[in-house]
Protein backbone atom coordinates (compact mmCIF):
# COMPACT_ATOMS: atom_id res chain seq x y z
CA UNK A 1 0.00 0.00 0.00
CA UNK A 2 1.23 3.43 -0.79
CA UNK A 3 1.01 6.00 1.95
CA UNK A 4 0.07 9.47 0.97
CA UNK A 5 -0.16 12.73 2.78
CA UNK A 6 -3.89 12.86 2.21
CA UNK A 7 -6.13 10.34 3.96
CA UNK A 8 -8.56 8.37 1.85
CA UNK A 9 -11.97 7.00 2.59
CA UNK A 10 -11.45 3.27 2.51
CA UNK A 11 -15.05 2.50 3.30
CA UNK A 12 -16.62 4.11 0.27
CA UNK A 13 -20.06 2.53 0.17
CA UNK A 14 -21.63 1.54 -3.13
CA UNK A 15 -24.44 4.01 -2.44
CA UNK A 16 -22.04 6.94 -2.51
CA UNK A 17 -22.80 8.61 -5.75
CA UNK A 18 -19.37 9.70 -6.71
CA UNK A 19 -19.84 9.98 -10.39
CA UNK A 20 -21.30 13.39 -9.72
CA UNK A 21 -18.10 14.99 -8.69
CA UNK A 22 -18.84 18.38 -10.09
CA UNK A 23 -21.74 19.32 -7.90
CA UNK A 24 -22.09 22.76 -9.36
CA UNK A 25 -24.32 22.26 -12.37
CA UNK A 26 -25.92 18.86 -11.98
CA UNK A 27 -27.91 19.49 -8.81
CA UNK A 28 -29.36 22.76 -9.94
CA UNK A 29 -30.52 21.55 -13.30
CA UNK A 30 -31.51 18.06 -12.13
CA UNK A 31 -29.52 16.57 -14.97
CA UNK A 32 -27.57 13.33 -14.93
CA UNK A 33 -24.21 13.47 -13.17
CA UNK A 34 -21.57 15.49 -14.91
CA UNK A 35 -19.79 13.35 -17.51
CA UNK A 36 -16.21 13.96 -16.43
CA UNK A 37 -16.13 11.19 -13.87
CA UNK A 38 -18.90 9.08 -15.32
CA UNK A 39 -17.67 5.71 -16.44
CA UNK A 40 -18.20 4.08 -19.77
CA UNK A 41 -20.09 1.18 -18.25
CA UNK A 42 -22.96 2.96 -16.57
CA UNK A 43 -25.34 3.42 -19.46
CA UNK A 44 -28.51 2.51 -17.61
CA UNK A 45 -28.16 3.33 -13.92
CA UNK A 46 -31.62 1.91 -13.12
CA UNK A 47 -30.53 -1.69 -13.60
CA UNK A 48 -26.88 -1.25 -12.80
CA UNK A 49 -24.83 -1.06 -9.66
CA UNK A 50 -22.77 2.04 -9.00
CA UNK A 51 -19.15 2.57 -9.84
CA UNK A 52 -17.83 4.46 -6.85
CA UNK A 53 -14.54 6.21 -6.63
CA UNK A 54 -12.66 6.22 -3.35
CA UNK A 55 -12.44 9.81 -2.16
CA UNK A 56 -9.99 11.65 0.01
CA UNK A 57 -11.62 12.52 3.34
CA UNK A 58 -10.97 16.22 3.06
CA UNK A 59 -8.26 18.81 3.49
CA UNK A 60 -5.03 17.40 4.90
CA UNK A 61 -3.97 18.26 8.43
CA UNK A 62 -0.42 19.23 9.30
CA UNK A 63 1.30 18.04 12.45
CA UNK A 64 2.40 20.91 14.73
CA UNK A 65 4.84 18.68 16.57
CA UNK A 66 2.95 19.41 19.82
CA UNK A 67 0.98 16.99 21.96
CA UNK A 68 -2.27 17.65 23.76
CA UNK A 69 -2.93 16.65 27.38
CA UNK A 70 -3.87 13.11 26.24
CA UNK A 71 -0.62 12.70 24.38
CA UNK A 72 -2.21 12.98 20.93
CA UNK A 73 -0.47 14.91 18.22
CA UNK A 74 -1.94 18.35 17.64
CA UNK A 75 -2.89 18.72 14.00
CA UNK A 76 -3.55 22.02 12.35
CA UNK A 77 -5.70 22.83 9.33
CA UNK A 78 -3.92 24.62 6.49
CA UNK A 79 -6.08 27.67 7.07
CA UNK A 80 -4.81 27.95 10.66
CA UNK A 81 -1.62 29.59 9.41
CA UNK A 82 -2.47 30.58 5.88
CA UNK A 83 -5.27 33.00 6.78
CA UNK A 84 -2.71 35.18 8.53
CA UNK A 85 -0.02 35.43 5.87
CA UNK A 86 -0.08 36.63 2.28
CA UNK A 87 0.19 34.10 -0.58
CA UNK A 88 3.44 33.96 -2.58
CA UNK A 89 2.89 32.84 -6.15
CA UNK A 90 6.63 32.41 -6.76
CA UNK A 91 7.01 29.46 -4.43
CA UNK A 92 7.77 26.34 -6.43
CA UNK A 93 10.14 24.30 -4.35
CA UNK A 94 10.25 22.95 -0.83
CA UNK A 95 13.38 24.94 -0.08
CA UNK A 96 11.48 28.14 -0.79
CA UNK A 97 9.14 27.33 2.07
CA UNK A 98 9.63 27.66 5.80
CA UNK A 99 8.44 25.70 8.75
CA UNK A 100 6.03 22.86 8.09
CA UNK A 101 6.62 22.28 4.41
CA UNK A 102 10.39 22.42 4.16
CA UNK A 103 10.70 18.62 4.35
CA UNK A 104 8.33 17.97 1.46
CA UNK A 105 9.45 16.58 -1.87
CA UNK A 106 8.19 18.37 -4.95
CA UNK A 107 8.59 16.78 -8.29
CA UNK A 108 5.62 17.70 -10.39
CA UNK A 109 6.65 19.65 -13.44
CA UNK A 110 7.19 23.37 -13.13
CA UNK A 111 3.90 24.25 -11.51
CA UNK A 112 3.86 26.38 -8.40
CA UNK A 113 2.08 25.61 -5.12
CA UNK A 114 -0.73 28.00 -5.95
CA UNK A 115 -1.40 26.34 -9.31
CA UNK A 116 -3.48 23.86 -7.33
CA UNK A 117 -3.78 25.25 -3.79
CA UNK A 118 -6.44 27.88 -3.29
CA UNK A 119 -5.06 31.12 -1.89
CA UNK A 120 -8.57 32.31 -1.05
CA UNK A 121 -9.23 29.22 1.09
CA UNK A 122 -6.35 26.93 1.92
CA UNK A 123 -8.78 24.21 3.02
CA UNK A 124 -9.77 23.76 -0.62
CA UNK A 125 -8.05 23.50 -4.00
CA UNK A 126 -8.62 25.50 -7.14
CA UNK A 127 -9.04 24.73 -10.80
CA UNK A 128 -7.08 26.47 -13.55
CA UNK A 129 -9.90 28.97 -14.05
CA UNK A 130 -9.62 29.99 -10.40
CA UNK A 131 -12.80 28.28 -9.27
CA UNK A 132 -12.82 26.44 -5.97
CA UNK A 133 -12.72 22.65 -5.84
CA UNK A 134 -12.88 20.53 -2.69
CA UNK A 135 -10.09 18.16 -1.70
CA UNK A 136 -12.54 15.29 -2.09
CA UNK A 137 -12.95 16.18 -5.77
CA UNK A 138 -9.23 16.40 -6.46
CA UNK A 139 -9.59 14.26 -9.59
CA UNK A 140 -11.26 17.15 -11.39
CA UNK A 141 -8.11 19.13 -10.79
CA UNK A 142 -5.76 16.37 -11.97
CA UNK A 143 -7.85 15.79 -15.09
CA UNK A 144 -7.28 19.37 -16.29
CA UNK A 145 -3.74 18.51 -17.35
CA UNK A 146 -3.90 14.72 -17.55
CA UNK A 147 -6.65 14.31 -20.11
CA UNK A 148 -5.52 11.08 -21.79
CA UNK A 149 -5.10 9.44 -18.38
CA UNK A 150 -8.57 10.58 -17.38
CA UNK A 151 -10.08 9.25 -20.60
CA UNK A 152 -8.41 5.89 -19.99
CA UNK A 153 -9.57 6.02 -16.36
CA UNK A 154 -13.16 6.51 -17.43
CA UNK A 155 -12.90 3.33 -19.45
CA UNK A 156 -11.25 1.25 -16.78
CA UNK A 157 -7.89 1.29 -18.53
CA UNK A 158 -6.05 3.43 -15.96
CA UNK A 159 -6.21 2.98 -12.22
CA UNK A 160 -6.92 -0.07 -10.13
CA UNK A 161 -10.34 -1.29 -9.14
CA UNK A 162 -12.08 -3.98 -7.13
CA UNK A 163 -15.52 -5.54 -7.15
CA UNK A 164 -17.55 -6.48 -10.20
CA UNK A 165 -16.77 -6.26 -13.91
CA UNK A 166 -20.47 -6.91 -14.52
CA UNK A 167 -22.38 -3.98 -13.06
CA UNK A 168 -25.64 -5.84 -13.50
CA UNK A 169 -24.44 -8.11 -10.70
CA UNK A 170 -22.60 -5.87 -8.29
CA UNK A 171 -20.80 -2.60 -7.66
CA UNK A 172 -17.26 -1.59 -8.52
CA UNK A 173 -14.90 0.55 -6.48
CA UNK A 174 -12.17 2.46 -8.26
CA UNK A 175 -9.04 4.09 -6.96
CA UNK A 176 -8.66 7.82 -6.89
CA UNK A 177 -5.67 9.49 -8.63
CA UNK A 178 -4.03 10.19 -5.29
CA UNK A 179 -4.43 6.60 -4.07
CA UNK A 180 -1.49 5.76 -6.31
CA UNK A 181 0.13 9.10 -7.09
CA UNK A 182 1.49 11.49 -4.48
CA UNK A 183 0.24 14.82 -5.87
CA UNK A 184 3.55 16.48 -4.95
CA UNK A 185 5.71 13.76 -6.55
CA UNK A 186 3.34 11.82 -8.79
CA UNK A 187 5.76 9.36 -10.34
CA UNK A 188 4.63 5.86 -9.40
CA UNK A 189 7.07 4.65 -6.73
CA UNK A 190 9.59 1.83 -7.21
CA UNK A 191 8.68 -1.47 -5.62
CA UNK A 192 10.43 -4.59 -4.40
CA UNK A 193 8.92 -7.84 -5.72
CA UNK A 194 8.05 -10.06 -2.77
CA UNK A 195 6.74 -13.19 -4.45
CA UNK A 196 8.53 -15.51 -6.86
CA UNK A 197 7.12 -18.74 -8.20
CA UNK A 198 9.84 -21.39 -8.06
CA UNK A 199 9.47 -23.03 -11.39
CA UNK A 200 10.56 -26.62 -11.43
CA UNK A 201 13.38 -25.99 -13.87
CA UNK A 202 14.88 -23.31 -11.66
CA UNK A 203 15.36 -25.67 -8.72
CA UNK A 204 18.59 -27.63 -8.23
CA UNK A 205 18.21 -31.15 -9.67
CA UNK A 206 16.54 -33.64 -7.37
CA UNK A 207 17.96 -37.08 -6.68
CA UNK A 208 15.01 -38.77 -5.02
CA UNK A 209 13.23 -39.89 -8.18
Amino acid sequence: MICLAIACDDSASPETETKNASKASANETGEQPAPLLATGESQNPATRFAVSIRKPLGPPKVSTGLQDMHGNLVLAACSTCHTTRPPNHQNKLAKDLDEFHSEMQFSHGTISCLSCHNERDYDALKLADGSRVEYADVMLLCAQCHGPQMTAYQHGAHGGMTGYWDLARGPQIKNNCIDCHDPHAPKFPSMQPTFKPQDRFLDPPRTDH
Binding site: I2, E41, G156, G160, M161, R169, M191, P193, T194, F195
Partner: protein
Protein backbone atom coordinates in the same frame (compact mmCIF):
# COMPACT_ATOMS: atom_id res chain seq x y z
CA UNK B 1 17.10 -60.23 -43.31
CA UNK B 2 20.82 -60.20 -42.90
CA UNK B 3 23.31 -62.97 -43.49
CA UNK B 4 23.76 -63.19 -39.76
CA UNK B 5 20.05 -63.84 -39.24
CA UNK B 6 20.16 -66.57 -41.84
CA UNK B 7 23.07 -68.19 -40.05
CA UNK B 8 21.09 -68.15 -36.81
CA UNK B 9 18.09 -69.79 -38.42
CA UNK B 10 20.23 -72.45 -39.98
CA UNK B 11 21.94 -73.24 -36.72
CA UNK B 12 18.70 -73.53 -34.77
CA UNK B 13 16.72 -75.49 -37.31
CA UNK B 14 17.79 -78.96 -36.10
CA UNK B 15 16.48 -78.24 -32.55
CA UNK B 16 12.85 -79.01 -31.66
CA UNK B 17 10.81 -76.00 -32.45
CA UNK B 18 9.29 -74.29 -29.39
CA UNK B 19 6.60 -71.70 -30.02
CA UNK B 20 6.50 -68.58 -27.97
CA UNK B 21 2.93 -67.81 -27.11
CA UNK B 22 3.01 -64.17 -28.16
CA UNK B 23 5.14 -64.32 -31.23
CA UNK B 24 3.95 -67.66 -32.45
CA UNK B 25 7.15 -68.33 -34.28
CA UNK B 26 10.08 -70.64 -33.82
CA UNK B 27 12.25 -69.70 -30.92
CA UNK B 28 15.85 -68.82 -31.56
CA UNK B 29 18.21 -67.12 -29.19
CA UNK B 30 17.62 -63.93 -30.98
CA UNK B 31 13.81 -64.09 -31.12
CA UNK B 32 13.69 -65.30 -27.52
CA UNK B 33 15.72 -62.31 -26.45
CA UNK B 34 13.47 -60.10 -28.51
CA UNK B 35 10.42 -61.62 -26.91
CA UNK B 36 11.88 -61.29 -23.44
CA UNK B 37 12.64 -57.69 -24.21
CA UNK B 38 9.12 -57.12 -25.38
CA UNK B 39 7.75 -58.84 -22.30
CA UNK B 40 10.00 -56.79 -20.06
CA UNK B 41 8.97 -53.63 -21.87
CA UNK B 42 5.35 -54.56 -21.44
CA UNK B 43 5.90 -55.17 -17.77
CA UNK B 44 7.53 -51.80 -17.38
CA UNK B 45 4.74 -50.17 -19.34
CA UNK B 46 2.20 -52.02 -17.23
CA UNK B 47 3.86 -50.71 -14.10
CA UNK B 48 3.91 -47.19 -15.44
CA UNK B 49 0.24 -47.17 -16.29
CA UNK B 50 -0.81 -49.29 -13.34
CA UNK B 51 -2.83 -46.42 -11.89
CA UNK B 52 -5.11 -46.98 -14.85
CA UNK B 53 -5.61 -50.67 -14.17
CA UNK B 54 -5.87 -50.74 -10.42
CA UNK B 55 -7.30 -48.23 -7.99
CA UNK B 56 -4.45 -46.52 -6.16
CA UNK B 57 -4.73 -46.35 -2.41
CA UNK B 58 -5.46 -42.66 -2.29
CA UNK B 59 -8.34 -42.78 -4.78
CA UNK B 60 -11.80 -43.80 -3.68
CA UNK B 61 -13.91 -46.15 -5.80
CA UNK B 62 -16.37 -43.34 -6.45
CA UNK B 63 -13.60 -41.12 -7.67
CA UNK B 64 -12.18 -43.86 -9.86
CA UNK B 65 -15.55 -44.50 -11.47
CA UNK B 66 -16.38 -40.84 -11.92
CA UNK B 67 -17.46 -39.85 -15.42
CA UNK B 68 -16.16 -37.00 -17.55
CA UNK B 69 -17.46 -33.62 -16.36
CA UNK B 70 -19.62 -33.19 -19.44
CA UNK B 71 -21.32 -36.51 -18.81
CA UNK B 72 -22.20 -35.82 -15.21
CA UNK B 73 -25.88 -35.17 -14.57
CA UNK B 74 -26.82 -32.50 -12.03
CA UNK B 75 -27.37 -35.20 -9.42
CA UNK B 76 -24.00 -36.76 -10.22
CA UNK B 77 -22.40 -33.36 -9.83
CA UNK B 78 -24.00 -32.81 -6.45
CA UNK B 79 -22.59 -36.16 -5.32
CA UNK B 80 -19.14 -35.45 -6.70
CA UNK B 81 -19.02 -31.98 -5.14
CA UNK B 82 -20.23 -33.32 -1.79
CA UNK B 83 -17.55 -36.01 -1.93
CA UNK B 84 -14.83 -33.46 -2.71
CA UNK B 85 -16.07 -31.18 0.07
CA UNK B 86 -16.00 -33.97 2.64
CA UNK B 87 -12.59 -35.18 1.43
CA UNK B 88 -11.15 -31.70 1.96
CA UNK B 89 -12.82 -31.59 5.35
CA UNK B 90 -11.22 -34.90 6.31
CA UNK B 91 -7.80 -34.23 4.85
CA UNK B 92 -7.30 -30.60 5.76
CA UNK B 93 -9.99 -29.95 8.35
CA UNK B 94 -11.36 -27.07 6.31
CA UNK B 95 -14.95 -26.46 5.37
CA UNK B 96 -15.17 -25.54 1.71
CA UNK B 97 -17.92 -25.20 -0.87
CA UNK B 98 -17.50 -26.39 -4.42
CA UNK B 99 -19.50 -24.43 -6.93
CA UNK B 100 -19.87 -24.88 -10.65
CA UNK B 101 -21.03 -21.59 -12.14
CA UNK B 102 -21.93 -22.02 -15.83
CA UNK B 103 -20.80 -19.52 -18.49
CA UNK B 104 -22.94 -16.38 -18.50
CA UNK B 105 -24.95 -16.58 -21.76
CA UNK B 106 -23.68 -14.15 -24.39
CA UNK B 107 -20.49 -13.28 -22.51
CA UNK B 108 -17.03 -13.84 -23.97
CA UNK B 109 -14.11 -12.81 -21.84
CA UNK B 110 -11.14 -10.76 -22.88
CA UNK B 111 -8.17 -9.60 -20.85
CA UNK B 112 -5.56 -6.97 -21.65
CA UNK B 113 -2.37 -5.77 -19.99
CA UNK B 114 -0.89 -2.31 -20.31
CA UNK B 115 2.84 -2.94 -20.59
CA UNK B 116 3.56 0.75 -20.04
CA UNK B 117 2.02 0.44 -16.57
CA UNK B 118 3.12 -3.00 -15.45
CA UNK B 119 6.20 -2.55 -13.26
CA UNK B 120 6.90 -6.22 -12.61
CA UNK B 121 6.15 -6.17 -8.89
CA UNK B 122 4.38 -9.53 -9.13
CA UNK B 123 1.41 -8.86 -6.85
CA UNK B 124 -0.75 -10.62 -9.46
CA UNK B 125 1.28 -13.84 -9.13
CA UNK B 126 0.87 -13.81 -5.38
CA UNK B 127 -2.87 -13.11 -5.59
CA UNK B 128 -3.22 -16.05 -8.00
CA UNK B 129 -1.32 -18.30 -5.61
CA UNK B 130 -3.68 -17.44 -2.75
CA UNK B 131 -6.95 -17.28 -4.68
CA UNK B 132 -6.41 -20.50 -6.54
CA UNK B 133 -5.16 -22.72 -3.72
CA UNK B 134 -1.79 -23.30 -5.34
CA UNK B 135 0.93 -25.51 -3.94
CA UNK B 136 2.78 -23.33 -1.44
CA UNK B 137 5.95 -25.44 -1.56
CA UNK B 138 6.92 -24.06 -4.96
CA UNK B 139 4.91 -20.81 -4.81
CA UNK B 140 2.90 -22.05 -7.77
CA UNK B 141 1.06 -19.44 -9.82
CA UNK B 142 -0.65 -19.37 -13.20
CA UNK B 143 1.17 -16.13 -14.00
CA UNK B 144 4.82 -15.56 -14.81
CA UNK B 145 6.15 -12.04 -15.15
CA UNK B 146 8.96 -11.76 -17.68
CA UNK B 147 11.52 -8.99 -17.36
CA UNK B 148 12.55 -8.07 -20.89
CA UNK B 149 15.17 -5.68 -22.24
CA UNK B 150 13.49 -2.67 -23.82
CA UNK B 151 13.46 -2.90 -27.59
CA UNK B 152 12.81 -6.62 -27.96
CA UNK B 153 9.69 -8.75 -28.06
CA UNK B 154 11.69 -11.97 -27.85
CA UNK B 155 10.18 -13.89 -24.96
CA UNK B 156 13.27 -16.08 -24.88
CA UNK B 157 15.20 -13.03 -23.70
CA UNK B 158 12.89 -12.74 -20.73
CA UNK B 159 13.90 -13.46 -17.17
CA UNK B 160 11.45 -14.52 -14.48
CA UNK B 161 13.84 -14.70 -11.54
CA UNK B 162 14.83 -11.04 -11.26
CA UNK B 163 15.12 -9.88 -7.68
CA UNK B 164 15.71 -6.14 -7.47
CA UNK B 165 13.61 -3.02 -7.17
CA UNK B 166 11.32 -2.54 -10.12
CA UNK B 167 10.97 -1.09 -12.62
CA UNK B 168 14.55 -1.00 -13.96
CA UNK B 169 15.08 1.79 -16.47
CA UNK B 170 16.21 -0.44 -19.33
CA UNK B 171 13.59 -3.14 -18.81
CA UNK B 172 9.91 -3.71 -19.30
CA UNK B 173 7.69 -6.32 -17.73
CA UNK B 174 5.33 -8.74 -19.40
CA UNK B 175 3.01 -10.94 -17.35
CA UNK B 176 2.14 -14.15 -19.19
CA UNK B 177 -0.68 -16.49 -18.27
CA UNK B 178 -3.10 -18.65 -20.25
CA UNK B 179 -4.19 -16.65 -23.27
CA UNK B 180 -7.50 -18.56 -23.52
CA UNK B 181 -6.81 -19.21 -27.20
CA UNK B 182 -9.73 -19.46 -29.60
CA UNK B 183 -7.74 -22.09 -31.46
CA UNK B 184 -6.08 -23.84 -28.52
CA UNK B 185 -3.41 -26.43 -29.38
CA UNK B 186 -3.56 -27.69 -25.80
CA UNK B 187 -7.15 -28.84 -26.35
CA UNK B 188 -6.43 -30.52 -29.68
CA UNK B 189 -3.65 -32.69 -28.30
CA UNK B 190 -5.40 -33.99 -25.20
CA UNK B 191 -5.91 -37.72 -25.81
CA UNK B 192 -8.79 -38.00 -23.34
CA UNK B 193 -10.60 -34.67 -23.83
CA UNK B 194 -9.86 -33.67 -20.26
CA UNK B 195 -9.41 -30.05 -21.36
CA UNK B 196 -11.75 -28.01 -23.53
CA UNK B 197 -12.89 -24.51 -24.37
CA UNK B 198 -16.14 -23.29 -22.84
CA UNK B 199 -18.66 -20.93 -24.45
CA UNK B 200 -17.35 -17.87 -22.64
CA UNK B 201 -13.88 -18.56 -24.03
CA UNK B 202 -12.31 -20.06 -20.92
CA UNK B 203 -10.22 -23.20 -21.48
CA UNK B 204 -10.81 -25.52 -18.53
CA UNK B 205 -9.45 -28.83 -17.22
CA UNK B 206 -11.42 -31.58 -15.51
CA UNK B 207 -8.75 -32.47 -12.94
CA UNK B 208 -10.43 -35.79 -12.24
CA UNK B 209 -10.43 -36.83 -15.90
CA UNK B 210 -6.90 -35.66 -16.72
CA UNK B 211 -4.44 -38.56 -16.94
CA UNK B 212 -1.40 -36.35 -16.47
CA UNK B 213 0.24 -37.15 -19.80
CA UNK B 214 1.40 -33.50 -20.12
CA UNK B 215 0.82 -33.39 -23.89
CA UNK B 216 -1.02 -30.10 -23.41
CA UNK B 217 1.87 -28.59 -21.50
CA UNK B 218 4.15 -29.36 -24.43
CA UNK B 219 1.60 -28.07 -26.95
CA UNK B 220 1.03 -24.69 -25.29
CA UNK B 221 3.26 -22.04 -26.89
CA UNK B 222 2.91 -19.74 -23.86
CA UNK B 223 4.10 -22.07 -21.08
CA UNK B 224 0.72 -21.48 -19.51
CA UNK B 225 0.12 -24.94 -18.09
CA UNK B 226 1.33 -26.23 -14.76
CA UNK B 227 1.73 -29.82 -13.71
CA UNK B 228 1.14 -30.92 -10.12
CA UNK B 229 4.31 -32.89 -9.53
CA UNK B 230 3.51 -33.09 -5.89
CA UNK B 231 0.39 -33.16 -3.80
CA UNK B 232 -0.26 -29.44 -3.24
CA UNK B 233 0.52 -28.39 0.34
CA UNK B 234 -1.50 -25.49 1.65
CA UNK B 235 -1.75 -24.52 5.32
CA UNK B 236 -5.37 -25.08 6.43
CA UNK B 237 -5.85 -21.47 7.40
CA UNK B 238 -4.78 -20.32 3.95
CA UNK B 239 -7.22 -22.44 1.96
CA UNK B 240 -9.61 -20.35 -0.07
CA UNK B 241 -12.94 -22.05 0.75
CA UNK B 242 -14.77 -20.51 -2.23
CA UNK B 243 -13.89 -23.15 -4.80
CA UNK B 244 -15.02 -24.02 -8.30
CA UNK B 245 -14.98 -27.57 -9.67
CA UNK B 246 -13.31 -26.42 -12.91
CA UNK B 247 -11.17 -23.76 -11.28
CA UNK B 248 -9.53 -23.34 -7.90
CA UNK B 249 -10.40 -26.47 -5.95
CA UNK B 250 -7.32 -28.21 -4.58
CA UNK B 251 -5.94 -30.23 -7.47
CA UNK B 252 -4.84 -33.83 -7.10
CA UNK B 253 -1.21 -34.79 -7.66
CA UNK B 254 -0.37 -35.76 -11.22
CA UNK B 255 -2.88 -33.51 -12.95
CA UNK B 256 -2.55 -30.50 -15.19
CA UNK B 257 -3.84 -27.06 -14.32
CA UNK B 258 -3.89 -23.60 -15.84
CA UNK B 259 -5.35 -20.12 -15.53
CA UNK B 260 -9.14 -20.18 -15.83
CA UNK B 261 -9.72 -16.41 -15.55
CA UNK B 262 -10.90 -17.08 -11.96
CA UNK B 263 -14.13 -18.49 -13.39
CA UNK B 264 -15.60 -19.04 -9.92
CA UNK B 265 -15.39 -15.25 -9.56
CA UNK B 266 -15.80 -13.93 -13.09
CA UNK B 267 -18.86 -16.04 -13.89
CA UNK B 268 -20.48 -14.38 -10.90
CA UNK B 269 -19.63 -10.98 -12.33
CA UNK B 270 -16.58 -10.35 -10.14
CA UNK B 271 -13.16 -9.23 -11.35
CA UNK B 272 -10.28 -11.74 -11.46
CA UNK B 273 -8.06 -11.83 -8.36
CA UNK B 274 -4.94 -10.79 -10.30
CA UNK B 275 -6.66 -7.64 -11.56
CA UNK B 276 -7.83 -6.62 -8.09
CA UNK B 277 -4.32 -7.14 -6.73
CA UNK B 278 -2.51 -5.14 -9.41
CA UNK B 279 -1.23 -1.97 -7.73
CA UNK B 280 -0.46 -0.21 -11.01
CA UNK B 281 -3.84 -0.67 -12.67
CA UNK B 282 -2.21 -2.37 -15.66
CA UNK B 283 -4.95 -4.97 -16.11
CA UNK B 284 -8.23 -4.58 -18.01
CA UNK B 285 -10.86 -7.31 -17.99
CA UNK B 286 -14.33 -7.59 -19.46
CA UNK B 287 -16.84 -8.91 -21.94
CA UNK B 288 -15.70 -8.82 -25.57
CA UNK B 289 -19.35 -9.07 -26.67
CA UNK B 290 -20.34 -5.87 -24.86
CA UNK B 291 -19.46 -2.89 -27.07
CA UNK B 292 -19.39 -0.62 -23.99
CA UNK B 293 -17.00 -2.79 -21.96
CA UNK B 294 -13.61 -1.64 -20.74
CA UNK B 295 -11.89 -4.34 -22.76
CA UNK B 296 -13.58 -3.20 -25.96
CA UNK B 297 -12.54 0.38 -25.32
CA UNK B 298 -8.95 -0.83 -25.11
CA UNK B 299 -9.26 -2.88 -28.30
CA UNK B 300 -10.76 0.08 -30.14
CA UNK B 301 -8.51 2.84 -28.79
CA UNK B 302 -5.12 1.29 -28.10
CA UNK B 303 -2.71 -0.42 -30.43
CA UNK B 304 -3.03 -3.91 -29.05
CA UNK B 305 -1.09 -6.99 -30.02
CA UNK B 306 -1.18 -10.67 -29.12
CA UNK B 307 1.75 -12.93 -28.33
CA UNK B 308 3.04 -15.23 -31.07
CA UNK B 309 0.27 -14.17 -33.44
CA UNK B 310 1.93 -16.11 -36.27
CA UNK B 311 1.03 -19.41 -34.61
CA UNK B 312 -2.66 -18.86 -35.24
CA UNK B 313 -3.69 -19.64 -31.67
CA UNK B 314 -5.97 -16.57 -31.61
CA UNK B 315 -5.58 -15.52 -27.99
CA UNK B 316 -8.31 -13.74 -26.01
CA UNK B 317 -5.48 -12.03 -24.15
CA UNK B 318 -4.05 -8.73 -25.39
CA UNK B 319 -1.10 -6.45 -24.69
CA UNK B 320 -0.68 -2.76 -25.33
CA UNK B 321 1.56 0.21 -24.59
CA UNK B 322 0.40 3.75 -23.86
CA UNK B 323 1.14 5.83 -26.91
Amino acid sequence: MTADDNADLHQSSPEPSRLLPILNQPATRRTALKAAGAALGLAAFGKAVSPLWSIPENVSVDEFLQQHYKELSDTDKQKVFARLESETQQKLGVEITISDPPPIPGVRYGYAINLSKCNGNGACMEACNKENNHHRGVQQSYIRVLELPKGTMDMEAGNTTYDHTVPQDDKYYMPVQCQQCDNPPCVTVCPVEATWKEEDGIVVVDYNWCIGCRYCEAACPYHARRFNWEEPEIPSDEINPDQGYLSNRVRPQGTMEKCHFCLHRTREGRLPACLEACPTGARVFGDLNDPESNINWVLQNKRVFVLKEELGTQPSFFYFFDS
